[in-house]
């Protein structure tokens, strides 16, 4: 389903996108040590789309490539292979198109690093307006910043302050106000609450959901926290070592996770209800994306792995409403 009822293309379409990084040592050292080039496959062939007004979340552990996808989605990285389509237009060809860029904004993880400490909040929030030449009149700009600050739960007077005068949660509100100031339709949020305390996290998640309802925003949400993801998502993609292993509607994923990795991730979350359920931790660690295992990347840690899994890389296959890349699920071995 790549088009909605009105015949509009999805807000974002990611088609078989890969992004490799050259992590070789310098040429001379490489020659002396007689070694070849080394390539890190941060994202290795993933496809999904984000329909308008919905939230797609990507979850996975560090190094799985989810933040690289976030950067690819706003055109901060070019693709090694495949295409990213924003509102039907290829991002790589539209890189210089300011009108296109105005419609997408990003919210970063660390509100201490993503706000310039020497700028007043007013200037921080107004920067996208200036950059895109949206509001030229200074007074009108200040009025608009005041509105934006009110919208995210701060006061217009806060515009005169500097970032250090705010707590982490308030800074993340400033980041959101800045992102909204160019009237975007699409927001990429890379771990927007993981630097925040849990009570403040709830404030920010509520704010984001509220803004989405009011303004019809589309979100690509990146997180490692499954509980957070469940609260905000319409659909969820689980990534492992640069690939999607499962993509499903949010409720389906939580009610019936299919991929052994998804199940292991859910199993690993500490149990707040203290049912005394004995957790079975996933053994092993995430392998290096420089030399991923052959076949299915999860096979060294997977309880269901067999010869085929070690040999042949599974492709995303529909199972009900879920897309899952697992030989065991395809063969029904997971139900034994």
């Amino acid at each position: 389903m790549s088009e909605n009822a009105a015949g509009q293309p999805p807000m974002l379409e990611v088609r078989d996108v890969a992004r490799y990084f050259d992590v070789s040592r310098p040429l001379l050292q490489r020659l002396l040590a007689r070694e070849g080039k080394r390539t890190l496959r941060a994202v290795d062939g993933i496809s999904f789309d984000v329909p308008r007004g919905t939230t797609l979340s990507l979850v996975g552990e560090s190094g799985c490539g989810k933040s690289t996808v976030a950067r690819l989605a706003v055109g901060l990285y070019g693709t090694t292979r495949g295409a990213v389509l924003f509102d039907g237009n290829d991002l790589s060809s539209a890189r210089a198109d300011a009108a296109q860029r105005r419609r997408m904004q990003m919210i970063f993880q660390d509100p201490y690093a993503s706000l310039n400490p020497r700028w007043r909040v007013l200037d921080i929030v107004a920067e996208p307006m200036r950059a895109f030449g949206l509001v030229s009149d200074r007074a009108a700009r200040e009025k608009r910043v005041g509105e934006l600050l009110t919208q995210v739960g701060l006061s217009p007077a806060d515009g005169q302050k500097f970032p250090h005068e705010f707590s982490g949660g308030q800074r993340q509100r400033i980041s959101i106000a800045r992102a909204l100031s160019s009237n975007p339709e699409f927001l990429v949020c890379d771990e927007p609450t993981s630097a925040l305390d849990v009570s403040v996290q709830a404030q920010i998640l509520n704010l984001m959901k509220d803004l989405q309802r009011r303004m019809g925003l589309t979100y690509l949400f990146i997180s490692h926290n499954l509980a957070v993801v469940r609260q905000v998502s319409d659909r969820i993609g689980v990534m492992y070592l640069g690939r999607l292993v499962e993509l499903a509607p949010s409720e389906t994923l939580f009610e019936a996770p299919r991929h052994p990795y998804t199940r292991a991730l859910m199993e690993a979350i500490p149990d707040l209800d203290m049912t005394g359920r004995e957790r079975i931790p996933v053994g092993g660690e995430v392998p290096s994306p420089i030399s991923p295992p052959s076949g299915c990347a999860f096979n060294p840690r997977c309880p269901l792995a067999n010869d085929r899994c070690r040999r042949e890389r599974p492709e995303m296959t529909p199972v009900g409403a879920t897309l899952v890349a697992c030989h065991a699920v395809e063969e029904g071995r997971d139900r034994q």
Binding site: R230, I269, P270
Partner: protein, 337 residues
């Protein structure tokens, strides 16, 4: 099943009315104010709260590593009945490692990148235990095996950067436990790790401390980790203990409005809610702690007394909570607010 031996009924660690101050140009800041709690041998005390609440500072005060100019202004810390808060630096250094082990959040900064992990383990063992270098090496290998590092005998001569994050944190745990301390202060030991690794580390920490009867002070902001690991929990807010009690009661039926707000704001994993419970506002800065109860500007149950008088820990039935709602004398006032 109670793993606590009968002889250990007296607390191993006792913190009494601890007050930590930071003198600054603009006056003295009180970072910790009247903090009291105790931990028995074999017991895990979880310490939770938002950043800046004083959790890590309490840990630092116990292991004698307060960042200057921070200093203990009042109160005492007793290990096994002996005061350790006023010891000379060299004496405290001997206690650290031998009696108290420390595990910090970031395994990369805890380990010295220039020495092999084996050398760091041996050094710790030799400093605190009467052993020959060969015995110390054997013991170091034993501890690496104990924390689940595969091929310990080979990996012992590797440098920290040759280990992954999860493996490094295992080395840090081995380092904290190798001199068999009686108390371990673990400050966010799993925060830097991925969930799947986190579960492994928690299981490991639980098993080792149970096997060795070690008391643990576990500082974390992750309530899930606390629920799984701790026997009792202290909730801190603005440099004070807001509530302390058995883990089940504090997590499931908290008596302090702040603990209740904190627990309610954790996003549930088992269902989607339209609107998450949130605590409005932010924790006050040390420079502007409100009069009366520090939580009163954010508290949904606030009444007159909270704005003037500061509550101490009061008996709240299942737990102890620093809240006037639990003072029989203020019940009438609370009712008509």
């Amino acid at each position: 099943m109670n793993p606590v031996p009968a002889a250990a009924a007296a607390p191993l660690l006792e913190v009494r009315n601890l007050r930590v101050e930071f003198p600054t140009r603009r006056g003295t800041l009180t970072a910790l104010d009247d903090v009291s709690f105790s931990i028995r041998a074999g017991e895990v005390l979880g310490v939770v709260g938002e950043s800046g609440a004083g959790k890590s500072m309490t840990g630092a005060a116990i292991i004698g590593l307060l960042e200057p100019p921070g200093r203990i202004a009042r109160g005492e810390i007793l290990l096994d009945g002996q005061r350790i808060d006023n010891l000379p630096r060299e004496k405290m250094r001997r206690i650290r490692g031998k009696q108290i082990g420390a595990i910090f959040q970031d395994p990369l900064t805890t380990l010295n990148p220039l020495y092999t992990v084996g050398r760091q383990l041996q050094e710790t063992i030799l400093t605190h235990l009467p052993m020959t270098p060969a015995q110390a090496r054997a013991r170091a290998i034993h501890w690496l095996e104990e924390v689940g590092i595969p091929g310990a005998a080979q990996r012992i001569d590797s440098y920290p950067h040759e280990f992954s994050g999860g493996m490094r944190q295992r080395v840090v745990i081995a380092l904290a436990l190798c001199a068999e301390p009686r108390l371990v202060v673990a400050d966010e030991p799993t925060t830097a790790l991925d969930v799947s690794i986190q579960a492994q580390i928690i299981a490991l920490l639980k098993r080792l401390t149970r096997d060795h009867g070690t008391a643990v002070m576990l500082v974390t902001h992750d309530m899930g980790v606390i629920a799984e690991t701790a026997d009792r929990v202290a909730v801190m807010y603005a440099g004070r203990v807001a509530e302390i009690g058995p883990v089940r009661e504090v997590v499931k039926a908290p008596n302090h409005p702040y603990s209740a707000g904190l627990m309610a704001s954790i996003p549930p994993l088992d269902r989607k809610v339209e609107h998450l419970a949130q605590i409005d506002g932010a924790m006050p800065r040390l420079t502007a702690i409100p009069r009366g109860c520090a939580y009163n500007p954010r508290c949904p149950h606030v009444f007159d007394r909270c704005r003037v008088e500061r509550p101490d820990l009061l008996d709240a039935g299942t737990t102890r909570a620093a809240c006037w709602l639990h003072d029989p004398a203020s019940e009438k006032r609370a009712a008509h607010v």
